[in-house]
């Protein structure tokens, strides 16, 4: 009986959720009610014979499920494919999955010819795809196809408008009624109706479009993308503007809008009413009548006053200083201000009925935006005033996370689009919603690595788990083992004595063969030799032999004591998403050269911990190998240098935080480059160093920004060098001179 009641609750909960999802001011609706006065309400009757009521269906009926009259599964699938085409496309009816089975998720871009008129933005999209790990130049192995025809602007009054697309695509042998094609679009339709017609037949192609109207949107098939401007960077992209979590999280203005007021035409219902909520104090809603050539024709009595008020405020200043920003529809549903507000941590208040929000398939916008209803504009001020500070604080942070994870560059927008499609195709290896909506975001959590959240370094906190209690020591050996006193042998012994060490892997990257089994030191843990391809990027390959969450990455020259290893590992367990290690380096802005500088000198701060002696999560091997652009990896392989800097870039780009340095007795010396030509031996030190400085600048250019962050602290054991008996100290060996 109880379970049934629980069940009834769940069902009622369904209706409740529905209320929750009202397009209108969702928050205000959640107002809970004052206690009812007894005996006033006429409740639903307690029927005297309620226990005699029949169930809605008897178990037999439920279990037999309509008896045996059933269509065969195959026949059903086939008839479905014929019925659900075009405007009713879904992946299972309009997409050919078999194309993706053999070669995986590969994307082909029709080669762009010189004479093709392609806009800057479309070029950025194409470049992003060509630089992505999914790109293929071979249409035979492609799973997804991207046109070389610029379809971004389909307003036929626009100069960017490409004519006769229908004829062109019909001539493409690969077109196949658009099957497995992905079409990008930012603007569709034109004055006065702005219908979402693209001016050509997209057939069964997937449409990634800005300003999508829900009715035109084919759920699970199309993708709503944000409108971005010509200036939107191809990669990298600016950070969000939130640099502190102020409490209370309210800014100078509560709510702001500055933009055009449409006096007529589509979208004018809302745009023409926005001025009503302006109070000149904490709600600034400014409109101008000046737009289009003939605005004065439609001019009304407000215009002059409004136009002059409009000039008094600066849009950028409002963005910076408002807690909430109104994002009304324009002529089309989406607008640039959506991304602008997101970046500015100005919580978007959307007034754009029927807009399918960007990446709505994976992003939970209820955590970062207020989805308002145009019809309830006048309730917006009280809605936002009632939003609890805790929620504002969380919303502000979430805008920043979303901006940096999915929107700050064209590359991210394109990548997100591709990953969403890929998640549909490879359902087993796809990301749960949680991953998309939690730092560091879906693009940085590779489902091919694992679908188990506990296998990633980021989710332990929310997940209530902790990383495994052992580590794998991973030593890169580049020189032959000739003498028993070689540092690598000592290192193996020291590391293997750590109580947390599970195994030792030696990556053999030397021309000479490794010594036979018996020549390696006797260790209590298994020692395995892996043969590498003698490239430096090999050291970050996701070898299946690495069975532990933690990797202790080591160079053959590194010298560490067991105590140091033990302590560093314990620290790493507290910071499993960061690099935790010993040798530190720093970057700085060299204003005389106008470039980044690199230093290995002793400094009061650092921004890198070298992987010659550092713990990090094995996931970063996968990320390094699978998500970094191939160009970067081949760069470090060519130089035989900088792979450790690149790893620091990668991890800091994920965490936005510095690495962690732990206590070390001896200071690490920058290792000379391996396998250097003999003639260059003298100057090699300098060469090596200047190479590293070059790397720093090249990486920063590739990433589009400088992800490294400085830290001023070192983590020592609690009693380190305290004046207390060494016998009380757990890590006393760290203090011996």
């Amino acid at each position: 009986m109880q379970t049934r009641k629980k069940y009834i609750f769940i069902t009622f909960f369904a209706s409740w959720l529905l209320l929750f999802y009202f397009g209108g001011d969702q928050i205000k609706r959640l107002a809970f009610l004052s206690r009812k006065k007894a005996a006033v309400l006429k409740n639903w009757p307690r029927w005297t014979d309620r226990s005699l009521l029949k169930s809605f269906a008897d178990p037999e009926e439920l279990q037999s499920d309509g008896g045996h009259h059933k269509q065969s599964a195959k026949a059903r699938r086939e008839s479905r494919i014929n019925i659900y085409k075009h405007s009713r496309c879904r992946m299972e009816t309009c997409f050919d999955f078999s194309r993706c089975e053999k070669h995986g998720f590969k994307v082909f871009v029709y080669p762009v010819e010189r004479e093709d008129p392609v806009s800057e933005s479309y070029l950025k999209i194409i470049t992003s795809i060509e630089e992505s790990r999914y790109y293929t130049s071979n249409p035979e192995e492609a799973c997804l196809f991207i046109l070389n025809i610029d379809t971004l602007d389909r307003d036929h009054l626009s100069i960017q408008y490409v004519h006769n697309i229908n004829n062109k695509i019909q001539g493409f042998p690969l077109w196949n009624d658009g099957q497995n094609h992905l079409i990008f679009n930012l603007y569709s339709g034109t004055w006065p109706n702005y219908t979402e017609d693209l001016g050509f037949d997209i057939g069964q192609a997937i449409l990634a479009k800005a300003s999508f109207y829900v009715e035109n949107f084919r759920p699970g098939f199309d993708i709503s993308i944000p409108l971005f401007s010509k200036e939107h960077p191809q990669k990298g992209g600016e950070r969000g503007w939130l640099y502190q979590n102020s409490v209370p999280p309210k800014k100078k203005y509560m709510l702001a809008f500055k933009g055009k007021r449409y006096l007529t035409g589509i979208g004018s219902d809302t745009r023409n009413a926005l001025h009503h909520i302006h109070n000149g104090k904490d709600i600034i809603s400014l409109t101008t009548c000046k737009h289009g050539k003939d605005w004065e024709k439609h001019k009304d009595t407000r215009c002059d006053k409004d136009n002059s008020d409009y000039e008094k405020f600066d849009y950028q200043e409002l963005l910076h200083n408002s807690t909430f920003c109104i994002i009304p529809r324009g002529r089309r549903l989406g607008s640039f201000r959506f991304l602008e507000a997101l970046q500015a941590a100005c919580i978007p208040v959307l007034l754009s009925n029927g807009w399918e929000l960007p990446f709505s398939e994976v992003i939970d916008w209820s955590k970062s935006a207020i989805v308002g209803d145009e019809r309830l504009l006048l309730q917006i001020p009280s809605t936002v005033r009632c939003l609890h500070s805790d929620k504002i604080l969380a919303f502000q942070q979430q805008t920043q996370f979303l901006w940096e994870a999915y929107f700050s560059s064209v590359e991210k927008i394109v990548q997100t689009t591709l990953e969403i499609i890929k998640d549909r195709l490879f359902h087993r290896e796809s990301r749960p919603k949680f991953v998309w909506n939690t730092l560091p975001g879906g693009l940085l959590a590779l489902p091919e690595y694992s679908t188990h959240l506990g296998d990633f370094p980021f989710y332990h906190l929310q997940h209530g788990s902790s990383p495994s209690g052992k580590f794998t020591a991973f030593i890169r050996a580049v020189s032959p083992v000739v003498s028993l006193s070689q540092p690598i042998l000592k290192l193996i012994q020291a590391v293997s004595r750590s109580q947390h060490c599970a195994q030792i892997l030696v990556l053999w990257s030397c021309e000479k063969p490794p010594p036979p089994r018996g020549r390696w030191p006797q260790t209590a843990v298994p020692l395995t030799v892996i043969h590498g391809r003698r490239k430096v990027s090999d050291r970050f390959f996701p070898y299946s032999a690495i069975g532990t969450d933690a990797v202790l990455s080591l160079d053959e020259h590194t010298s560490l004591s067991t105590s140091e290893v033990d302590f560093a590992f314990v620290v790493w367990r507290s910071f499993p998403d960061r690099i935790v290690g010993f040798p530190m380096r720093s970057h700085f802005w060299d204003s005389s050269q106008s470039q980044w500088g690199y230093t290995s000198k002793w400094t009061n701060e650092f921004s890198m911990v070298l992987t010659a002696a550092a713990f990090y999560h094995r996931y970063y091997h996968s990320l390094f190998t699978n998500s970094l652009p191939a160009g970067l990896r081949s760069l470090v392989d060519q130089l035989s240098n900088c792979e450790d800097i690149l790893m620091n870039f990668l991890v800091s780009a994920v965490t936005k935080l510095p690495p962690i340095k732990v206590t070390q007795k001896k200071q690490h010396q920058e290792a000379a480059p391996q396998q250097m030509p003999k003639s260059a031996a003298v100057s090699s030190g300098n060469l090596h160093f200047s190479q590293r400085q070059d790397c720093l600048n090249q990486f920063a250019a590739w990433f589009g920004y400088m992800p490294l962050v400085h830290s001023q602290l070192r983590l020592d054991p609690v009693l380190f060098k305290d004046q207390v008996s060494v016998l009380r100290k757990k890590y006393r060996h760290l203090e011996k001179p």
Partner: protein
């Protein structure tokens, strides 16, 4: 009036009398938590029973006595369901703002018996489930009996099962409801849609603009943001109490328990069984049961007979395969049994899919991939399976989750709590004022019997100094979120902590910037489990571990002042004020509980002047103090329901601390000197 003012002390209106009401409130309010739960996860949070509201007048009547309405044959029929309906096109929002406080009101039409011209019943009057559903709505605070105030209308016409009603006449019955208005703002509940031969995936009763909470939607009939997909209720699950089963391996890897499978599917499954032997169990209807045994409670494989639904608990994965309909009651049984569902139903919209993260609790396999099911499932790591079996996840949601390093220029506000030690206070002020990043100093004057010294007597310092006089001598005053605090960082410092150097304090601030969501403090403490006494113990000796820092000298985010003042669980805040002790331990619990993170102890240990002692001399007093502090830990752990403190073995020092390097080149040379 803002609703938010209410939610601190009021739980969800739906279940006014339950202990976990705050919890539920947040579940329902923030979908962030919802995302982490799945249907049965929620079952755990909902109450096991509702007390009936005895103080309300309740009619006592029989269902048979309800008025009969005769529907003329030519009475109007609503349009078919409008597939393009969305909130902004078909829903009347203006109805929902009638009362400024109570935004949502749900009205239930009174129960009628509908008959056609010939007096034949249109449908069963009402089913047990629908009656309970309506009772639950009626018992909630959403309910109104005033049709003019309602935002949402729920007809009492039971359409849970399409097979038990006459479609045209039911539609006519809907159309004659007093506020029908094309079905605007009307909500219908349906679990078994469609009928032979083609089994539509949504209710066939013409319903115009009405919203539909339905079981078995397909992607073509589901109107996202308008309809809600709900599970198909299984009355069987209600009859049988299944024991809790923890995660772990089960006897069968894959189990299929559905009886009415299409022969094609069945032969696919049987092939699977033939390939993989005993780990796959495909059950079917029992053919030779003795009289009186309900066939719905038994399943058979060859000659073996199994109890259903108990047998579901013996399997790791249980198949939920589409039949004529997409939504299957077996999904409810499977979830109830703690078996991980394998959903094989192309284009099916899973229940509550917009808020539930089904990928974390189920495996969805396309119908075409059925033959590969075994290998697909085998590729799932055991740890992940166990997590799916658990069906719920811990959810620490750090309020300061974004990784930010606040700008140094902001500085920090020092707050000194003082009673009457003016001389020592002035020394502290003078010392702290030397710290470069200090931006303001706030003295909280906790002595109501004495006024603070005159302005002219205070030390002259380079930053603003404000004195706040409190109205009561309470320890919690130190953690009040004063408006005067304009920085994110707060340094709480006792009026007798004069031994910290400017370098140490400045360094502490720099460390806080790197860990702004943690307590960053100087003296560290530890909690230990006392195996003899079977309880927690407080430890202040020289240990290799720390789990707390004392707030006699600690940096933390101003946000935690709000948390301490307004969100401290249970009676801890008052308890601390009454006992005049342990406010620091309470703060450590609070921060660790909400962030899941450990404290950061900075710089080497110093001989603090027994900073936590309320009385100065004497070993015995000291011991009493320790006992009291231990009691605090035990008390707080029981209020929090968990031990949130995290133990670590590290502390933060400047990068070059004690390194062989010229002192004058170090940023923070003066560290650790006594």
């Amino acid at each position: 009036m803002c609703a938010s003012a209410k939610y601190n002390n009021r739980g969800p209106a739906l279940i006014p009398r339950m202990k976990t009401k705050h919890r539920i409130y947040y579940i329902t309010l923030f979908s962030i938590v919802l995302l982490g739960l799945i249907a049965t996860g929620m079952f755990q949070f909902w109450p096991h029973s509702i007390e009936s509201s005895s103080d309300w007048t309740v009619e006592k009547r029989s269902v048979h006595d309800v008025p009969v309405i005769k529907l003329p044959a030519d009475s109007p029929i609503p349009e078919r369901g409008d597939l393009s309906c969305r909130m902004h096109t078909c829903f009347d929002v203006y109805r929902c703002g009638f009362n400024p406080k109570n935004k949502i009101k749900v009205y239930i039409y009174s129960l009628k018996k509908y008959v056609d011209e010939y007096g034949m019943l249109v449908s069963n009057t009402i089913s047990r489930e629908y009656n309970e559903l309506l009772t639950a709505i009626s018992d909630s605070d959403f309910y109104t009996d005033d049709v003019n105030r309602a935002c949402l209308f729920v007809p009492s016409i039971d359409v849970l099962n399409q097979n038990t009603l006459r479609i045209k006449e039911t539609a006519q019955a809907l159309a004659q409801l007093s506020r029908w208005d094309r079905g605007t703002n009307h909500l219908l509940f349906n679990m078994l849609p469609g009928g032979p031969p083609d089994y539509n995936t949504a209710l066939d009763v013409p319903r115009d603009r009405a919203l539909l909470a339905g079981g078995g939607f397909s992607t073509w009939t589901y109107r996202q943001g308008y309809d809600v997909s709900i599970p198909v209720y299984s009355p069987l699950s209600a009859e049988v109490e299944l024991p809790e089963r923890g995660p772990g391996p089960r006897r069968y890897f894959i189990l299929s328990s559905q009886m009415a499978l299409h022969p094609e599917y069945r032969s696919d499954l049987e092939a699977l069984q033939a390939e993989n032997g005993e780990s796959v169990l495909i059950l079917d209807k029992c053919t030779n049961l003795s009289e009186g045994v309900p066939s719905v409670r038994k399943r058979c494989h060859k000659n073996q007979v199994f109890d259903y639904p108990q047998v579901l608990q013996e399997a790791t994965f249980c198949i939920v395969l589409r039949g004529a309909r997409l939504g299957q009651a077996v999904l409810s049984d499977v979830l109830q049994a703690g078996c991980v569902p394998i959903v094989i139903a192309d284009s099916y919209i899973l229940p509550f899919s917009e808020v539930l993260d089904w990928k974390r609790a189920s495996v969805v396999i396309p119908e075409e991939k059925m033959p590969e099911m075994y290998s697909i499932l085998q590729s799932i790591p055991q740890r992940q399976i166990e997590e799916m079996q658990r069906q719920k996840w811990s959810s620490v949601s750090n309020p300061l989750f974004l990784p930010l390093i606040p700008p140094q220029s902001q500085g920090f506000t020092a707050i000194v709590l003082t009673y009457d030690r003016v001389e020592s206070l002035f020394r502290v002020i003078t010392e702290v004022s030397k710290v470069p990043s200090l931006s303001k100093l706030l003295v909280v004057w906790n002595n109501q019997n004495k006024n603070p010294p005159e302005d002219s007597l205070w030390p002259k310092i380079r930053v603003p100094l404000k004195v706040v006089k409190t109205t009561e001598n309470k320890l919690s005053n130190r953690f009040f979120p004063y408006d005067e605090i304009e920085t994110e960082a707060v340094l709480a410092i006792d009026d007798d902590i004069i031994m910290l150097t400017s370098d140490e304090l400045q360094f502490g601030y720099e460390v806080w910037r790197e860990f702004p969501d943690r307590l960053v403090g100087y003296p560290g403490r530890l909690h230990l489990w006392d195996h003899e006494m079977n309880k927690w113990k407080y430890e202040s000796e020289w240990t290799n571990e720390v789990s707390m820092v004392l707030t006699g000298a600690a940096f933390y985010h101003k946000y935690f002042n709000y948390l301490y003042t307004y969100k401290m669980p249970g009676d801890i805040k008052n308890w601390v004020d009454a006992h005049m002790n342990c406010e620091d331990i309470a703060m450590n619990f609070l921060v660790a509980n909400v962030t899941g993170k450990a404290v950061i102890k900075v710089t080497p240990r110093k001989k603090f002047k027994c900073p936590e002692c309320t009385a100065i001399d004497g070993l015995s007093l000291d011991q009493t103090h320790m006992v009291e502090r231990s009691e605090c830990i035990n008390k707080f752990a029981s209020v929090f329901g968990t031990m949130p403190l995290k133990v670590v073995e590290h502390r933060a020092d400047p990068v070059l601390y004690k390194d062989d390097f010229p002192e004058k080149l170090k940023s923070f040379p003066n560290i650790g000197s006594l």
